[in-house]
C-alpha cells in the first residue's frame, strides 16, 4: 500500500514537471495551474464535507478572502509573494475561526445556511470596502518576482505545482493521523466521540479553520495566477462548483479533489462548444442504453429503477440537439450534474472506480495488520493517572435531580461508588438508570445536586473533559464509529495518549511517529484482550452484534479510565458470549478499574456485583449486597408489582441459573 502511493506520487511528480514541456501552449498551462489551485482548496473542503460531514457553502467566500488579502497587500503595501501568501493563509484561517466558532454550535442545514450567509457577506464586503479592495473595479497584481526576476507562466506553474504537492502531503498526513481519526469519529457518532475525550466542537472548529487556511493559500495563488481579481468571481456559483467537484471526484480521497478540480475547470470550456456537448450527450445515451439492457438482462435492477436516469439522459440528448446557445443553460447543466452525482454517484468517480476494482480483486485492498504480532495483553493496561486513594469513594453523586419538563427522571438520588468494586445499577425500564449514566458522563447537566469524582466536582463539565478525567463508558444502543476499522475505533479511545500537535503531524516528527507506534501496539493489545484480534481490520459496522459490544468496551479501555460505566453490555448477547463478557468484566476489575454495571440479566448482575443499587421512578429504593437487595420487599414490588413479598417474585429475582432477563 505504502509502495503503491510512493509510485503514484512519483508518477504525479513527473507528470507535473513534464506537462509544460509537452504542452507549451500558455492557455493550457494556465488551465492546469487553475486545476492545481482548485485542488488545494478542495483538499480543504473535503476535510469539512467528506470527513466531518458538514456542508460548507462559504468556501467561495474564504477563497475570496485569500485572494483579496494577497491582492490588497500587494496593491496597498507592495508586500512580496513570500510574505503575502502566508499572510493570506493566516487571515483566511482567522476568518474561518470567526465563522466556525458560532456556526459550528449547530450542524447540518443550519451550518449550510450560515456559511451561505457568510459567503454573501464576504462578497458584499469585497464590493463595498473600496478603500481596501477597489470594489467592482478589481485589483491588478503581476506575477510574483524573486530577486528581481519576474516569473513567467511556466515558472509560476511550477510554484503552484510545488505548493499543491506540499498541501497534498500535509493534508494526507493530517488525515491519516489521530486528527483525521477524530474527524471521522465525530461524524459517525458525536456522542461517543465526546465520551472518548475527543471534543466534537473543538475538532470541528479545528477542521474548519484548517480548511479555511487551505482556501486562503489557494486564493492567494489564484490572485497571482489570474493577475486580476474582481468581486464577481467569488459568488454562489463558485461555491456550488467547489462542492460539485468534491462529491463528483470522490470524498475522503486525495485523488478525488484533483479529478474534481480538473472536471469543473474544464467544464466551462467543454460546455462552450455545443458540438462537443452534443457528442457527449449522445455517447451518454448510448452508454446508458447498453448499461440498462445489461442490468435488466442480469436482473440487477428493475425497470422502474432504471426508468428515471435513462429518461433523464435521453431528455438531455434531445435537449442538446434542440439547443442553440449552450452558455445560457450552463447553470442548469451544473444543477443536473449535481443531482446526478448526489443520487447515482455518491462515492464520486474515484469511489466508483475503487468499488469496481474491489469487485474484480476482492483482496487487493486488504491491509495486513503488522501490529497484531506485537500485541500483548499486558500492554493493554496503563496505570490510570487518576487513581485516587484506596478505600475512599471514587464517585459520589450527591442529591442528583434531573428534570425534563415536569418529569423527574432522577429525584434526589445519592450514589456512592467505592473504589475497586463492581457496582450494579438495576431497576425496571424507565427507572432512570441511563439518565444516571448520562448525568455521570456529562451528557446531561443535572438540574440540581452535584457529582464528585476523585474528590473534584465534575457535574457541569463537558463530556470530553469528564472522559479525560478518567470516566469511560459504553452505550446501551451501540455507538461505534461504523466506517472505521476495529483498530481505528480503539485508536480514537487512545486519542488522549497523543501529545503531538498539528506541526508534529505535518512534519511527521519523531515524537509523532513514536506515539503512533505505541498507540497502535496498545490498540492491538486491547483488541487481543477483548478477543477481536482476527477482526482488527474489519469495519466496525460489519462486526456481529456481540463483537460490537466487546469492541465498545475495548474502545473505552483505551481511555485508561479509573471508572468504567457499562450500559447493558449483555443485551442481545448469546449465553456463551455472556460468559466471555463476565470474564472480561472480572479481568477489568482485577486491573484496578472500578465498574458501574447497568444490566437486565439478573444472574450477571447478582453474580459479579459487590454492591447493587436499585432505582425505580427516578428514586433509589434499595442498596446493598446482591443477596440483601434480592430479598428486599420494595425491589420485588417494583419489578413484579402487586403486594410486596410475594414468594414467586423473590424466586424470580434470585434465580441465577435462568438467563432470562426480567420482563419489565
Amino acid at each position: 500500500m505504502k509502495r503503491n502511493s510512493l509510485i503514484l506520487g512519483i508518477i504525479a511528480f513527473i507528470a507535473l514537471v513534464a506537462f509544460p514541456l509537452v504542452i507549451p501552449n500558455p492557455y493550457y498551462i494556465h488551465l492546469a495551474e487553475t486545476i492545481l489551485i482548485y485542488a488545494i482548496l478542495l483538499f480543504g473542503l473535503d476535510i469539512v464535507v467528506g470527513y466531518t460531514g458538514e456542508v460548507s457553502l462559504g468556501h467561495a467566500g474564504l477563497f475570496g478572502i485569500g485572494s483579496y488579502t494577497a491582492g490588497a497587500l500587494f496593491f496597498k503595501l507592495g508586500v512580496p509573494f513570500a510574505l503575502a501568501v502566508p499572510a493570506s493563509i493566516a487571515v483566511t484561517a482567522a476568518f474561518g475561526a470567526l465563522l466556525a466558532l458560532p456556526a459550528l454550535r449547530v450542524t447540518g442545514p443550519y451550518l449550510a445556511m450560515v456559511t451561505l450567509a457568510f459567503g454573501t457577506i464576504i462578497q458584499i464586503l469585497i464590493n463595498e470596502m473600496t478603500f481596501l479592495t477597489e470594489g467592482p473595479l478589481g485589483i491588478k497584481v503581476p506575477k510574483p518576482s524573486f530577486f528581481g526576476h519576474k516569473l513567467n507562466e511556466v515558472e509560476y506553474f511550477y510554484v503552484a505545482a510545488a505548493l499543491m504537492m506540499v498541501a497534498l502531503i500535509v493534508v494526507n498526513r493530517l488525515l491519516k493521523s489521530h486528527f483525521g481519526r477524530a474527524f471521522q469519529a465525530l461524524r459517525a457518532s458525536p456522542v461517543a466521540c465526546d465520551c472518548m475525550g475527543v471534543s466534537v466542537y473543538r475538532y470541528k472548529v479545528f477542521a474548519f479553520v484548517f480548511s479555511a487556511g487551505l482556501a486562503g493559500l489557494a486564493g492567494s495563488l489564484y490572485t497571482y495566477s489570474e493577475e486580476y481579481i474582481s468581486p464577481n468571481t467569488y459568488n454562489f456559483e463558485l461555491t456550488i462548483l467547489f462542492l460539485l467537484a468534491v462529491i463528483m471526484g470522490g470524498r475522503k480521497t486525495r485523488s478525488g479533489p484533483i479529478l474534481g478540480a480538473a472536471i469543473v475547470v474544464m467544464l466551462p470550456s467543454l460546455l462552450s462548444d455545443i458540438e462537443l456537448f452534443r457528442k457527449i450527450a449522445y455517447t451518454a445515451v448510448a452508454i446508458g442504453v447498453v448499461a440498462s439492457i445489461w442490468l435488466l438482462a442480469k436482473k440487477r435492477k428493475s425497470l422502474r429503477e432504471i426508468a428515471i436516469p435513462l429518461t433523464a439522459t435521453i431528455a438531455m440528448a434531445v435537449f442538446s440537439y434542440k439547443l442553440e446557445n449552450i452558455i445560457d443553460w450552463r447553470l442548469t447543466i451544473f444543477g443536473l450534474m449535481t443531482l446526478f452525482v448526489v443520487y447515482y454517484l455518491q462515492d464520486g468517480v474515484i469511489g466508483f472506480l475503487r468499488n469496481l476494482l474491489e469487485k474484480i480483486w476482492p483482496n487487493g485492498f486488504r491491509k495486513v495488520d503488522e501490529y497484531g504480532a506485537l500485541a500483548n495483553e499486558s500492554l493493554a493496561w496503563e496505570k490510570s493517572e487518576h487513581s485516587g486513594k484506596a478505600g475512599v469513594d471514587l464517585l459520589h453523586a450527591n442529591q442528583v435531580l434531573m428534570q425534563f419538563g415536569g418529569l423527574k427522571a432522577l429525584n434526589q438520588v445519592d450514589l456512592k461508588i467505592a473504589k475497586g468494586t463492581i457496582h450494579g445499577l438495576i431497576g425496571p425500564n424507565g427507572s432512570g438508570k441511563s439518565t444516571m449514566m448520562n448525568v455521570l458522563t456529562g451528557i446531561y447537566k443535572p438540574t440540581a445536586g452535584a457529582v464528585e469524582f476523585n474528590g473534584g466536582v465534575i457535574s457541569g463539565m463537558t463530556p470530553a473533559a469528564i472522559a479525560l478525567g478518567g470516566i469511560a463508558r459504553t452505550f446501551q444502543n451501540v455507538q461505534l464509529f461504523g466506517e472505521m476499522t476495529a483498530t481505528e475505533n480503539v485508536l480514537v479511545g487512545l486519542h488522549h495518549t497523543f501529545k503531538s500537535n498539528v506541526l508534529d503531524v505535518m512534519l511527521n516528527t519523531k515524537r509523532y511517529r513514536a506515539e503512533e507506534h505505541r498507540a497502535r501496539i496498545r490498540a492491538a493489545s486491547i483488541l487481543q484482550f477483548v478477543g477481536l484480534t482476527d477482526l482488527s481490520n474489519e469495519e466496525a459496522r460489519n462486526l456481529p452484534y456481540g463483537k460490537q459490544r466487546l469492541l465498545e468496551i475495548g474502545r473505552a479501555l483505551g481511555l485508561s479510565p479509573s471508572l468504567l460505566l457499562l450500559d447493558e453490555p449483555a443485551a442481545g448477547l448469546t449465553a456463551p458470549d455472556i460468559k466471555e463478557l463476565v470474564a472480561i468484566i472480572r479481568k477489568i476489575r482485577e486491573h484496578g478499574i472500578t465498574l458501574i454495571l447497568i444490566e437486565h440479566h439478573m444472574d450477571v448482575v447478582m453474580s459479579i456485583s459487590d454492591t447493587v443499587t436499585v432505582l425505580d421512578f427516578g428514586q433509589k429504593i434499595a442498596e446493598g449486597k446482591p443477596a440483601e437487595v434480592q430479598a428486599n420487599a420494595k425491589v420485588i414490588e417494583a419489578y413484579l408489582g402487586g403486594d410486596a413479598g410475594s414468594n414467586a417474585g423473590a424466586a424470580e429475582l434470585s434465580a441465577p441459573p435462568s438467563s432470562t432477563p426480567i420482563p419489565a
Binding site: 464535507v49 460531514g53 456542508v55 457553502l57 465563522l99 466558532l101 458560532p102 456556526a103 454550535r105 449547530v106 447540518g108 442545514p109 443550519y110 449550510a112 445556511m113 450560515v114 451561505l116 450567509a117 457568510f118 454573501t120 457577506i121 458584499i124 464586503l125 464590493n127 463595498e128 456522542v191 454562489f236 456559483e237 456550488i240 462542492l243 462529491i247 445560457d328 443553460w329 450552463r330 447553470l331 442548469t332 451544473f334 444543477g335 443536473l336 449535481t338 443531482l339 448526489v342 443520487y343 455518491q346 425534563f404 441511563s434 449514566m437 448520562n438 451528557i443 446531561y444 452505550f475 446501551q476 444502543n477 455507538q479
Partner: protein, 296 residues
C-alpha cells in the same frame, strides 16, 4: 423623525414578507426535518408566473391581480411537490442529509437558470393592483400595497394555523411534526404529509412573491437574497415558532431599511446576516425556539 417612521413602515412590510417565507421553512422543517434551499426560487417563480398572468410580459394581462393569486398558489404547490419528489424524498429514505441539501440547491439553480432563459435576465416591473399614491400616517407616507402585504401575510399564516388546529388533515400534519414514526404507526401516510407540507410551503412562498412584487422589481435573481434572509429570520425567531418568524421578520426588515438609509444601500443585507451569526452564538435555538434534549 418622519423619515424614521417611514423607514419603519417599509421595514414592517418587508419584514412580513420575510416572516411568510420563514414560515414556509418552518412548515417543511416540522414535518420532515428538511428545508428547501430553493425557497427563494419558489417565491421568484411565483412572482414571474403571476406577472405573466396579470401583467403584460407574455402578451397579457389575461386575468386581474386578485384572481391570479389562487392560480399562482396552485402553481407554487405543484412546484413544491416537484421539489419534494425529486430533491427530498429519496434522501429522507436513505437519511442522507447531505443529499437533500445538495439536491434542493441544485434544483434552485436549475429553476433560476430556467427562469432567466424564459423571462430574461433583466428585472421587470410588476403593475400595482392598487393606487400607488401613498396616504399619510403620522406624517409618514404609506403605500396601500404595503398595508396589503402586511394583512395578506398575516392572513396566510393565520389560515395555515387554523387549518392545522381545526381540521383533521391539519392534525395529521401536527402529529407527523411531533413524532413521524408514531404518526406512521397510527395510519397516517407521513410521506404524503411531507409532500403536502412542501406544497404548502412553496405555495406560501409563491404567494409572498406576488405580494412583494408590486413593491420591488421582479426577476430571476430576486429570490436568492430573500430566501437567505428569510432563513436568517427563521433561525433568529426559532425554527419551531410562528411568533418567532413574525418577530424575527420585523427585526430584520426594520434593521435593513434603516441600514439602507442611514449607512449605505450596499450594506443593507449585512445586519440580518450578522444578527444570524450572533443569535447562533448566543442562543442557537432562536429567540422563541425550544431547546431539544438529545437522547442517548
Amino acid at each position: 423623525m418622519d423619515i424614521f417612521l417611514q423607514l419603519t413602515f417599509s421595514g414592517i412590510a418587508l419584514g412580513m414578507i420575510y416572516a411568510v417565507i420563514a414560515f414556509g421553512y418552518q412548515l417543511t422543517f416540522a414535518t420532515s426535518g428538511t428545508l428547501n434551499f430553493g425557497q427563494g426560487e419558489a417565491l421568484m417563480l411565483g412572482a414571474l408566473v403571476g406577472l405573466s398572468l396579470a401583467g403584460g410580459v407574455m402578451g397579457g394581462p389575461y386575468i386581474n391581480y386578485w384572481l391570479m393569486i389562487p392560480l399562482v398558489m396552485l402553481f407554487g404547490a405543484l412546484q413544491g411537490v416537484v421539489v419534494e419528489r425529486i430533491g427530498v424524498r429519496p434522501s429522507i429514505k436513505t437519511k442522507n442529509e447531505f443529499g437533500w441539501i445538495m439536491s434542493t440547491i441544485a434544483l434552485a439553480i436549475i429553476f433560476k437558470n430556467v427562469a432567466e432563459n424564459i423571462w430574461g435576465k433583466d428585472d421587470l416591473t410588476f403593475p400595482s393592483p392598487v393606487s400607488s399614491t401613498p396616504f399619510q400616517i403620522f406624517g409618514a407616507n404609506v403605500q396601500i400595497m404595503q398595508v396589503i402585504v402586511v394583512l395578506g401575510a398575516l392572513a396566510m399564516m393565520l389560515a395555515v394555523e387554523l387549518f392545522n388546529r381545526k381540521s383533521i388533515y391539519g392534525k395529521a400534519v401536527v402529529a407527523t411534526a411531533n413524532d413521524s414514526d408514531a404518526a406512521g404507526l397510527m395510519g397516517i401516510n407521513t410521506g404524503q404529509v411531507v409532500t403536502f407540507s412542501y406544497a404548502l410551503s412553496s405555495a406560501t412562498a409563491a404567494f409572498a412573491g406576488v405580494l412583494v412584487a408590486p413593491l420591488t422589481l421582479t426577476g430571476a435573481t430576486m429570490g436568492t437574497a430573500l430566501g437567505l434572509k428569510a432563513f436568517a429570520v427563521a433561525i433568529i425567531g426559532g425554527l419551531t415558532s410562528g411568533v418567532g418568524a413574525i418577530v424575527g421578520g420585523l427585526i430584520l426588515g426594520i434593521a435593513e431599511t434603516l441600514t439602507g438609509y442611514y449607512i449605505s444601500t450596499g450594506y443593507k443585507e449585512v445586519p440580518g446576516l450578522l444578527l444570524l451569526l450572533l443569535v447562533l452564538a448566543i442562543k442557537p435555538s432562536g429567540l422563541f425556539g425550544k431547546t431539544t434534549i438529545k437522547k442517548v
